[in-house]
Symmetry: C2
Subunit: 202 residues, 2 copies
């Protein structure tokens, strides 16, 4: 906790350090993304993360007192950089939007590896990211459901489609194809997802 200033003292102006800290934190988060992506959360070490950006272990710990704090920041960051292209879904429909996101993701293999490994690790309720992933799939499914409803209204998706259920199915297919692609990058994930969307949305 920060100590409170006595009322008489000059309040220190220090906007520089804050900016520097934010930048450092970002560097650490990016390095952690790489390490967790290749070794998992349990398998990845803070030492590796520190080494990757030429920092000491102590400094990393200074910014993120516990390893789980760092994981939390990594996941937050992953969701921000994985900006879901909502606008495209409104104008072009959910299918086009998903395929665009698939193409975008094919360029960020490390991040996908991270999410794949940690999401399965996190199926243990004691895992620090357990709730985060449970919420993530709930939000993903209901987000897709809303987009599907919109498309159904406009006749772009069959009225037979159950939005909530199909949201779950789309998320599942997405993850599953991504795993197979991660294992074997010669797989045509775009084409496979395209075919899946045609079937699932009729």
């Amino acid at each position: 906790m920060t100590t409170t200033m006595p009322p008489s003292a000059q309040p220190p102006i220090r906007r520089g350090p804050y900016a520097k800290t934010a930048q450092r934190r970002q560097e650490i988060v990016e390095a952690a993304t790489n390490v967790f992506a290749s070794r998992g959360y349990h398998g990845g070490s803070l030492r590796d993360i520190a080494r990757q950006i030429g920092l000491s272990l102590t400094s990393v710990v200074h910014h993120f007192p516990a390893k789980s704090d760092l994981l939390e920041a990594v996941l937050e960051n992953a969701d921000q950089t994985g900006g879901w292209t909502l606008g495209l879904a409104r104008t072009e429909g959910v299918k086009v939007a998903i395929l665009a996101q698939v193409d975008f993701n094919l360029e960020r293999k490390e991040l996908l590896r991270l999410l794949a490994i940690v999401s399965s690790e996190a199926s243990d309720p004691a895992h620090p990211a357990h709730q985060w992933f449970v919420d993530r799939y709930d939000n993903l499914a209901s987000g897709l459901a809303k987009l599907l409803e919109y498309d159904i209204e406009r006749g772009r998706v069959s009225a037979d489609v159950d939005p909530e259920l199909t949201g779950r199915l789309l998320a599942a297919m997405w993850d599953g194809l991504q795993l197979q692609w991660l294992l074997d990058p010669t797989q045509d994930m775009h084409g496979q997802m395209d075919a899946a969307l045609n079937r699932l949305l009729q």
Copy 2:
């Protein structure tokens, strides 16, 4: 390596030890399945595995000199116990067979956790199980493709279905729904897979 007997010496008869060894190995493999399932391959330790069956670490190492040897045995064993119900697919169709396997799998959560975690870890080509999982998905996809062809011939599955591609899609959907169910066991995986099969097989 075992030393060769001199021709003059009595060949020792020892069938007991072999059987005992096989049983021990099986015990170790089952403990390793639990540990790898809850902590992953990197995160799981040989000590935990030994402790779980009241054995010393050294004895475990005696049977499996390297950790990766143990993982290999665990995966072999997982595929055997996860006996794919081929007979059912011939008589009742691929959809019934898959749903039966889904129900069976819902009782073996630890094994599914293991496969989920290790398969994503193994997307790193340097992982000891990398090739095993690449082959596994190839075999799974082509196996499903054969079953689909059979069902198409008999009119149980739409002739519009591309067997090889759809085999991939089914495997992906299966994995994806399983992950969501592992994270949140209140998910109705049977119902979701049923709906997915109806859509994917028309």
